[in-house]
Amino acid sequence: MAAPQVDLSVQLAGLTLANPVLVASGTFGYGTEYGELVDVGRLGGLCTKAVTLHPRAGNPPPRICETSAGMLNAIGLQNPGVEVFISEKMPALRELGVPIIVNIAGESVADYVALAQRLSDCADIAALELNLSCPNVKRGGMQFGIDDELTERVVAAVREVTRLPLIAKLSPNVTDIVGIAEAARDGGADALSLINTLLAMSIDIDRRQPMLANVTGGLSGPAIRPVAVRMVWEVTQAVDLPIIGMGGITSAADALQFIMAGATAVAVGTANFVEPDVAGRIINDLEDFCQQAGVARVADLIGAAHSSSGTEGLQ
């Protein structure tokens, strides 16, 4: 008996992705760093490292350190700026043949608007991901993503100047993720990325100083997965926008948690550092899972865990 064909494609913000597995911003460079170790063409999509209006040197080292089932980073948005990005990085990205989602970060609403305008002129960009949530820069970054008015304002301003699909990437470092997600929707976002890193730190007890020169950094990796799944779950219930779920994904089982919690697609971040072709493995295993479970379209699993209700307790 030939295994039935599984339809892995998903629709997201007007895009059709061949499969729901992307690589997350900042963890896959500009698409070529892993060389031949990864068959990039198989990815559902690629989110670039954040691009800013002007070049940025980033934070001083040490910028990363390992923690239990996770890592901290405080890269500080090192990037060559949007002009160099367009002239030197986009040509290679274009050749990869997968949807390119450009992650943009600004210090002000005007920065985001200028970036969106500039990138709207550039061919072959599938969508913009507004990084409202970088915990590692002094100005801008997370400051937007923790305030619902600012979130709505920046998304709305960008919405006015571009026809590209807009994905708002939210910070988990908030009391009420649903409120922020609603603000992004009200501003006109077509989709949400959940979650960026958790603000965290580690101390080198021998040197009696923080492990990172930046003192704090963003926690990513398997450690944060349960927080991310919870946020996807909560937002799915309240906001009718497709979600790209991420945070600690290392396997198809992890990816399925996000999809069943309500994510339309997922992004693999930190795991790329450990296993460069992890996304390819996940795509294969997702297909196998669907085949074995008799699921014809992976899209049928989106939000699947919401249907059953919790057990009633005593009292």
């Binding site: 963890t27 460079g29 060389g35 040490p62 910028r63 990363i64 390992e66 090192q78």
Partner: protein, 280 residues
Amino acid sequence: MALLDEAPSMYAQTIQLIQREQVGPDYHLLKFDCPQVAAAAQPGQFVHIRVAAKWDPLLRRPFSVLRTNEAEGSFQVLMRTVGRGTQMLAEAQPSTEFDIMGPLGNGFALPGPEGEAILVAGGIGVAPLIFLATVLHEPESYRYARGLFGARSADDLCCWLEFSGVCDEFTAVTQDGSAAEQGLVTDFLAPQLERGAGCVYACGPALMLAEVARQCQGAEIPCYASMEQRMGCGVGACLGCVIPTRASGAQRYQRVCKDGPVFDAQIVDWEAIRCGCTPG
């Protein structure tokens, strides 16, 4: 392939540990079966090893290639046990499988035909310099090599026989005087520089490298330093492993894994590094 960010050939694969030898209280020689790395690795390049099949410890660990054996299809690393990952490797049984990526990084630029080479090793930094000295010792790429090897104590002068065996001249130094000369390796560099040299290669603790660089600049002798930094991806994607440089005047951060680990000492911002941006 020009699109690939000048990626040299690198491999990711599951390979076997074929030999593990303890060569000092905290040191092990690990030999892996891997024809690809054996054939491709250049002195100064490193491999990025996943110490556990699962996700804990999470990140890979970088180790310099110590030597390759193309005929056997193997390569070795010299490892100092410092923390959790190296502890796990130190206890691994032969035939255990590990995921590796490599060879990574740029490797040492071989010296021009003029002048002798000075190789300055501090502690575990001897590993890539043994590989370099081995290549300089081969007839087709021969250069006269003077080795300087400093360590805290006799226990840390690990593999000094291997190092001296491939150098034409050799000086060993320990901080506590428990073996060879007493002092810092950099105390013994000045006379070497005075004799003149084509190029200096150094690998070791950041403060040692800074001092080597300072002296070489004074003597106007080119110097290449192999740097360390905590690493994520190992291939240039995460920007996690940078050090401060001032190439052509402008200050910036460059990646140890991709733009290094070997840097022209002239462009490294040693001042900033002295302030403490090296791994702890």
